[in-house]
């Protein structure tokens, strides 16, 4: 009898252990209401919840300051039994690294960082591939061959996006130029709009935004020039002049990552997925864009997905006409991660 009870108890514990959901936490650098970076990650979190239902228990903490506060938050989550913790900004890399060492049984993933541990991986999306595709569209849609680019800060991630975009533009429109204006802020709708207006006044007839808010798209709509967005679909903000957006689909990564954790095949890695994994892509292209241009975009998207073509395949010249990548060569991931020069066709300076 005693043995039977014991067996029952063991079974019960086992059942509870199997049925207890995987506890997943997300740390956000901004508010979910930023309509940009953090919002895109939160869409990913919601996707995880929808896909796994009650097999996961998902939570998030928004606007977590960098530094000591982040460490406190991470430690408290880890000691409260969370199995997986996603820290969704580069600025948490060192804190994540430090806490991950103390909690070897918890899995940590840091977005856009580079430090790893056996229980800590990094992940990011090759948004530049999507930027390249939006460049093809911009190049086809400009009448005067002048495109304006509203950019946040001169860091490699942004410079890479501008270069990829410009390569796309010049592929369909070799004489077109891309004029860059730095806003020096991730987050100031009124100023971003002002930056877009200055580009429109200078004669640009397509506006590409890379900042977080949709204000540059509103400026384009008001001045009747075409608009391309970033991060998420922004069609509502320029209903008549919207073309598409380069978007992150973080949910694709989160779901495949969590699946690996659930079936025990997870390994720490530096993940940098692109169009092939669906982590980045385009928002639906509007009917402002002619059918044949859509076909071209589709074709190039497939080439990129199949790795038959890479955005930074040579020959590539820099702003001053100097050959940077010879024909037959391509830029390595290392080169891309430290990109600090503009390709031919970009008008604007990188402040040193």
């Amino acid at each position: 009898m005693k043995k039977l009870l014991l067996l029952l108890a063991v079974l019960l514990v086992a059942v509870v252990a199997i049925a207890s959901p995987l506890k997943v936490a997300f740390i956000y650098v901004g508010p979910v209401g930023d309509a940009g970076w953090t919002y895109a990650h939160d869409l990913g979190r919601q996707y995880v919840q929808n896909v796994f239902g009650n097999k996961v228990q998902v939570t998030y903490i928004e606007s977590v300051p960098e530094g000591a506060e982040a460490i406190t938050v991470l430690k408290s989550l880890a000691s409260r039994g969370f199995n997986v913790i996603y820290t969704t900004s580069f600025s948490y890399m060192n804190q994540t690294f430090q806490v991950a060492k103390q909690f070897p049984k918890v899995i940590f993933e840091n977005c856009s960082g580079y430090k790893t541990l056996p229980n800590m991986g990094d992940y990011f999306g090759r948004i530049y591939q999507a930027e390249f595709l939006t460049g093809l569209i911009a190049g086809a849609m400009t009448k005067d061959g002048k495109i304006g680019y509203v950019a946040a800060y001169p860091i490699p991630e942004v410079i890479r996006g501008i270069d990829a975009f410009t390569i796309g533009v010049r592929m369909v429109n070799p004489k077109a130029t891309v004029q860059v204006v730095w806003v020096n802020s991730w987050y100031d709708p009124a100023t971003e709009k002002e930056a877009a207006i200055s580009l429109i006044n200078a004669g640009c007839d397509v506006i590409k935004s890379e900042t977080d808010s949709a204000a540059p798209l509103q400026a384009a709509e008001e001045h009747h020039v075409y608009a391309i967005g970033y991060n998420t679909d922004m069609i509502k903000f320029a209903p008549h002049y919207y073309l598409t957006s380069a978007v992150f689909n973080w949910g694709k990564f989160y779901v495949s990552d969590i699946k690996k954790i659930m079936n025990g095949t997870w390994k720490s890695q530096k993940y940098w997925g692109g169009l092939d994994d669906g982590v980045v892509g385009l928002a639906p292209i509007t009917n402002n864009v002619p059918e044949q241009v859509k076909k071209l975009v589709k074709a190039m998207e497939n080439e990129l997905k199949d790795h038959k073509f890479r955005v930074f395949d040579g020959p590539i010249y820099d702003q001053n006409g100097k050959l940077k990548v010879a024909a037959g060569q391509t830029l390595s991931d290392q080169d891309l991660l430290s990109m600090d020069w503009f390709v031919e066709g970009v008008i604007g300076k990188i402040p040193k």
Binding site: K193, S198, A202
Partner: protein, 310 residues
């Protein structure tokens, strides 16, 4: 080309100066009565959020403006109560207002993110808009810009040419003397602190109803703090505040004009100038003699208690 840059910079200066102007005028009213309210940023955020929420749900822009001013006024009345009636430190209470405004607007505003609402459009004023060069820049604007044109001179007139304005200044300069003359110091301070909040709310509403027709958290991006600086820059004078607001606004726009024309002046240096000038103004007005004429209201930040009669 350079003509285009010039006109677009002037046009942008007025656009980006208008929210600063409203907030600065509001803070001038509060400080003239002796109440330092550092919570401008929080009140602007509440205004921007409330304005957007009301315009989105009712599509009535003027109702949205009134609601924005009302919501910010409520926040300001909190500051008034704490600093006038309870006589606590005004700096601390003002800072608390910043976080309160940011937190409440962010929390309530979550479901208004990522949507677009109606927006004020430009209204051409007949005849005036035909004036060469300046006509189109000054008189083909949205209605709130015109409100700014009228409000600054009106407040100036009110401050310096009416009895009520004189009472207001008396309360800020010498509350004891004002009290002796039968002016209700507490009531006066309440009224102008709350009116100042309403104007900060109007400044915030300009951002979400005219400048852009959207709401995102913290969309004021520090403009409330610029307004606090502008009050000093303008030496508490509404007309100088107008000049300062459009100047600060113009410089933030000029940085893009310079980038577009490839002018080698770093935008960071440009952005620094107004603040440098503000520091110079503070130095200039720091001597005893100058302070009397141009300095801060003497009782600024000092709670008033009637002296015990013996």
């Amino acid at each position: 080309m350079s003509h285009d840059i010039l006109t677009s910079t002037f046009a942008g200066a007025i656009r980006s100066g208008t929210p600063l102007l409203f907030a600065t005028l509001g803070e001038i009213l509060a400080e003239r009565s002796g109440i330092l309210n550092l919570g401008v940023e929080g009140m602007m955020l509440i205004g921007a959020f409330t304005g957007f929420a009301v315009s989105y749900t009712t599509s009535n822009l003027w109702l949205a403006v009134v609601a924005a001013m009302g919501a910010a006024a409520i926040l300001a009345s909190l500051h008034a109560f704490v600093s006038i009636t309870l006589k606590v430190n005004q700096v601390v209470s003002g800072l608390a207002l910043v976080f309160l405004g940011a937190g409440l607007s962010g929390f309530w505003g979550q479901r208004f993110v990522g949507i677009q609402s109606v927006s004020f459009v430009n209204v051409k004023i007949p005849l005036l808009a035909e004036i060469p060069f300046v006509g189109n820049i000054l008189f083909n604007r949205d209605p709130l810009v015109y409100v700014g044109y009228v409000l600054a001179p009106f407040i100036w007139w009110y401050l310096y040419k009416t009895k009520y304005g004189m009472n207001l200044r008396a309360v800020g300069e010498a509350p004891g003397a004002a009290d002796a003359r039968g002016i209700n110091v507490s009531l006066t301070r309440y009224i102008y602190t709350i009116m100042g909040g309403a104007l900060a709310g109007l400044g915030g509403a300009y951002l979400s109803l005219a400048y852009t027709s959207m709401w995102v958290e913290n969309m004021t991006a520090g403009r409330g703090w610029i307004a606090v600086v502008l009050v000093i820059f303008a030496i508490w004078d509404p007309l100088l505040a107008m000049l300062g607001a459009y100047l600060f606004g113009g410089i933030s726009v000029l940085q893009f004009g310079l980038q577009v024309t490839q002018t080698p002046i770093p935008p960071n240096i440009m952005k620094m100038f107004p603040y440098l000038f503000t520091v110079l103004v503070m130095l200039f007005t720091s001597s005893e003699k100058m302070k009397k004429r141009f300095g801060a209201p003497s009782a600024l930040g000092v709670p008033y208690s009637r002296e015990e009669k013996t």
